[in-house]
Amino acid sequence: MILMILSLFVSMGYSQSENYEKAMMKNLEKMDAAESPDDMQNAANKFERIAMAEKDQWLPWYYAAYASALKGYMGLGPDQLDQQLDKAQELLDKASELDANNDEIEVLQGFIYQARIQVDPQSRGQQYSMKANAAFAKASQINPDNPRPDFLIAQNLLYTPEAFGGGKEAACAKYQSAAEKFANFNPESDIAPNWGKEMNEQMMNRNCK
């Protein structure tokens, strides 16, 4: 009898966590398949709902922030982009409240800073590049094997004039370093951050041959 109830509790507990992972997996697929800003918003909203229900998981906040930032790249005007990134930042801040020393959160922080540059490259370029690079440096310090900082730094270098240490050659060195790290990278779980590999390969094929 007691065993029965115990096992019931265990299975309930298990099923909830299983439910969480399932919901996350399903929504990750949705996010990856998103083709319009609306699709991306739906995915971000779903992550936010999961986040609000799972009080101590940082990942749903992280993905809600990531999807919000990605939506920013789907053809928004400068004003809307800034507002969208404010939202992404707000969501990411929730993630870092739950896990203060996390390389993936730092990576995404740098990614959001890079997106801020798009709003007004002329006056924001230098300041936000510096902010982004500081975030990437922190991420690499926490986890030197994380490939995403190198990948995102390469993305920025590609569009930085050679005079400021950018250009194809500098970018390709970073893409290459990222590619090596991607090859050895094993995400902690099925739902842990694991993005950028395909894009890194595409960029290398396009620019570094």
Partner: protein, 714 residues
């Protein structure tokens, strides 16, 4: 056992049958649908996003009372209790706009704001650095905005008919006693603080918040940078000197140290100077910037600097313009401030600050000595209560202790005049900021001051309002009283004076659309209690009276367009009608620092292929009055108009992999002989005529070349 199994089976079977559909529509106040809003039941995954028509629908198996939450960017979160056992679960919800959303109304009367973080501002910090003719000086760039006068021989800002002493500068909220370097007669000075220190600048030409006092006309509010981003060292090589700095960033702390050396000797030997220098300006300076993050949102800042400067000029004498007298100046300035800003609980923001300044200016005029020293210590404390969307209440107090001393040693009389004084100024202010939806905002406040020197108090009410007139346009109004303790040079002789007073009335219309902004502002200013006297430097207290007065009325227009790729330009125009009777004026007259018409055009153009930014600034100012003792009518003579076209170029490159900016600037491309005014001898010559000389720029053409290198590790 059997029963438990039965119950479980029943539960399992019955659960799906209890799923309820929740649906509805999310709209804004105007009834427009809001697509993309997040609608869900709190604590569950159950929810949906709204579609193009603002509609949503989702199923949930939850029972009993639940909370339905709606979240959407730019709107306030909506929460409502729902009962899952009800038959109908259809909700049509109107979301209220959050007042901090994009395009919400802001109070703009009088204020020009430069910020990286805020949206919809007029200028950005980088604009200050790249404005041709501004020479990297904050005040030089502010001088391209409407409401300011072109007073080339001073280098200070004169706002809307106000004298330069009527504009005050605030550094992180702390009043700066000596914002400019001490000046030589008719030689323009510069601001003491580097524009790099600040990430946000508000230039208010009137109607500012009750937090700021002791300024009759204008407040320049400078907010300093936060934590430095990364470790960096930099070197600057300029035609006027050298500089170096190093910044170190730790996790929650950053520290920058910098030093500079200025020497204008080489430059003066290359470029012909209109004035006769015995010693070109030479100086050195060191400064420190410290930042410490405290907890989640608190920030402790500290800034300190010390500077030394010396110059010696031969300048026409007061009694005889033909005879040059030597003016030797040594200035030593120490400045320190520290401020803390942090949150207490969720709804209180605390700001506290301390500042100290000590400025010693020793002038030697021929054989006479004039030593002036001003020491000021200030403490300030502010609290803000935020009810995040509707209102903010701010209140605070400050205390300023000022010790002034001047010793004037007249060699020919072997007599020493010493005129020291101490003033303790206590002030308190309170202000309510109301935001009633995104369309209406109001700021109502008041300020109270008591000066121990004058032994008098003042109370200044201030009100600003703003309404949206369209999606991108708004009207803003401001009214208020502004008080200022009389200048040191009068207060030291006559402590029984009253505060000088100005009342501002401002109406402003602004429209911002597609990276273009148009502003028009009209104002009226009434001046009362200005200090008057019959003869300058009279030591008799009763000779100084508060019966001066004046008025200023005008229109300021501003247009900026950033919509064209690689091009950015702004145009400003100001018309002013002003007269005053103050100082030793015998009648009401247009003061010498006023041009009725001021126009500026600032153009910046980026050449991305060659990594260069070109800048042009055109400045026009109609003629200014000057005092001519040969004319019976006071201040009835006018100079001819002032024209200047300045150019600068910033070329971005790298030197040994270090980011480098090469900056070149040149003034007066039109090759004009500009004249700011005339100075006359105090005594007529043998023919009974007062002789004069023209006050001109220091050199016909200003040229500046600088190379700025940042050395970063990466």
């Amino acid at each position: 056992m059997k029963r438990i199994v039965q119950i479980i089976i029943i539960l399992l079977i019955s659960n799906p049958g209890l799923a309820q559909v929740i649906s509805g529509k999310i709209i804004d106040k105007k009834g427009e649908p809001l697509p993309g809003a997040n609608v869900f039941i709190e604590g569950s995954y159950d929810g949906a996003s709204t579609d193009e028509e603002g509609k949503f629908s989702f199923a949930s198996q939850l029972q009993g009372k639940q909370t339905l939450v709606v979240r959407f960017v730019g709107f306030r979160e909506h929460r409502q209790e729902i009962n899952m056992s009800h038959d109908s679960l259809i909700f049509n919800i109107v979301l209220r706009e959050s007042s901090n959303q994009l395009g919400a109304v802001t109070i703009t009367a009088g204020a020009f704001e430069a910020s990286d973080e805020k949206k919809g501002v007029v200028m950005k910090p980088l604009d200050i650095l790249t404005t041709a003719g501004g020479l990297g000086d904050i005040y030089g760039a502010i001088n391209t905005l409407p409401g300011t006068q072109t007073v080339g021989e001073e280098g200070k800002i004169f706002v809307r008919g106000g004298d330069s002493y009527e504009t005050k500068t605030f550094f992180d909220g702390m009043l700066i006693e000596q914002p400019y370097y001490s000046s030589m007669p008719d030689i323009p000075t510069r601001g003491r603080f580097s524009p790099w220190l600040f990430s946000g600048t508000v230039f208010s030409s009137g109607g500012y918040s009750a937090e700021y006092g002791q300024a009759l006309s204008s407040a320049l509010i400078l907010n300093s940078e936060g934590l430095a981003e990364e470790d960096v060292s930099s070197i600057s090589l300029m035609t006027v000197g050298l500089g170096a700095s190093h910044t170190k960033r730790w996790e929650n702390t950053s520290l920058s140290l910098s030093g500079g050396y200025t020497n204008l000797n080489p430059y003066f030997s290359l470029i012909k100077q209109e004035y006769e220098w015995e010693t070109a300006p030479v100086g050195y300076e060191g400064s420190m910037v410290f930042r410490q993050k405290v907890g989640q949102e608190g920030m402790l800042k500290a800034y300190g600097s010390y500077g030394y400067g010396r110059s010696k000029l031969r300048y026409p004498g007061f009694d005889d313009a033909e005879e040059l007298q030597s003016v030797d100046l040594i200035e030593k300035n120490t400045y320190f401030n520290t401020t803390y800003k942090g949150k207490t609980g969720k709804k209180w923001v605390t700001k506290a600050g301390f500042s100290y300044s000590d400025d010693v200016s020793d002038y030697e005029i021929d054989q006479d000595d004039l030593d002036e020293r001003v020491k000021v210590a200030q403490v300030k404390y502010n609290m803000t209560y935020l009810d995040h969307d509707i209102y903010k209440i701010r209140f605070g107090g400050e205390f300023r202790h000022k010790k002034y001393s001047q010793i004037y040693l007249v060699d020919s009389l072997s007599h020493e005049y010493s005129t020291p004084f101490i003033d303790n100024l206590s002030a308190a202010f309170t202000e309510l900021e109301l935001t009633l939806g995104p369309r209406f905002a109001a700021r109502i406040g008041g300020r109270f001051e008591y000066s121990s020197l004058l032994d008098k108090s003042n109370a200044a009410p201030r009100i600003s309002l703003a309404f949206k007139t369209g999606e991108k346009s708004q009207i803003s109004l401001a009214w208020g009283d502004f008080y200022q303790t009389p200048k040191d040079e009068f207060a030291r002789f006559s402590p029984n004076l009253y505060y000088e007073r100005a009342t501002h009335y401002i109406a402003n219309f602004q429209i911002m659309k597609n990276k273009r902004i148009f502003r028009i502002e009209t104002y009226y200013k009434d001046y009362q209690n200005l200090v008057k006297f019959d003869s300058l430097y009279s030591p008799v207290p009763a000779d100084y009276k508060n019966d001066g007065f004046g008025h200023a009325a005008g229109i300021d227009v501003f247009w900026r367009d950033e919509s064209i790729p690689f091009l950015d330009y702004w145009l400003s125009y100001g018309y002013i009608d002003t007269k005053r009777n103050y100082l030793d004026y015998p009648v009401e007259a247009i003061p010498t620092f006023v041009s009725s018409h001021n126009a500026r055009a600032v153009v910046k153009y980026i050449l991305p292929k060659v990594n260069s930014l070109l800048g042009f600034t055109y400045t026009f100012a109609s003629g200014r009055t000057y005092y001519n003792p040969n004319n019976e009518n006071f201040l009835e003579d006018k100079t001819r108009a002032y024209h200047d076209l300045s150019f600068n170029i910033s070329y971005l490159t790298s030197i040994w992999d270090n980011f480098t900016v090469v900056y070149f600037s040149i003034g007066n491309l039109l090759d004009r002989d500009n004249i700011f005014g005339y100075r006359y001898s105090n005594q007529p010559n043998e023919q009974g005529v007062y002789e004069s000389f023209a006050v001109t720029p220091m050199s016909k053409r200003f040229i500046f070349l600088g190379v700025f290198i940042s050395l970063t590790e990466s």
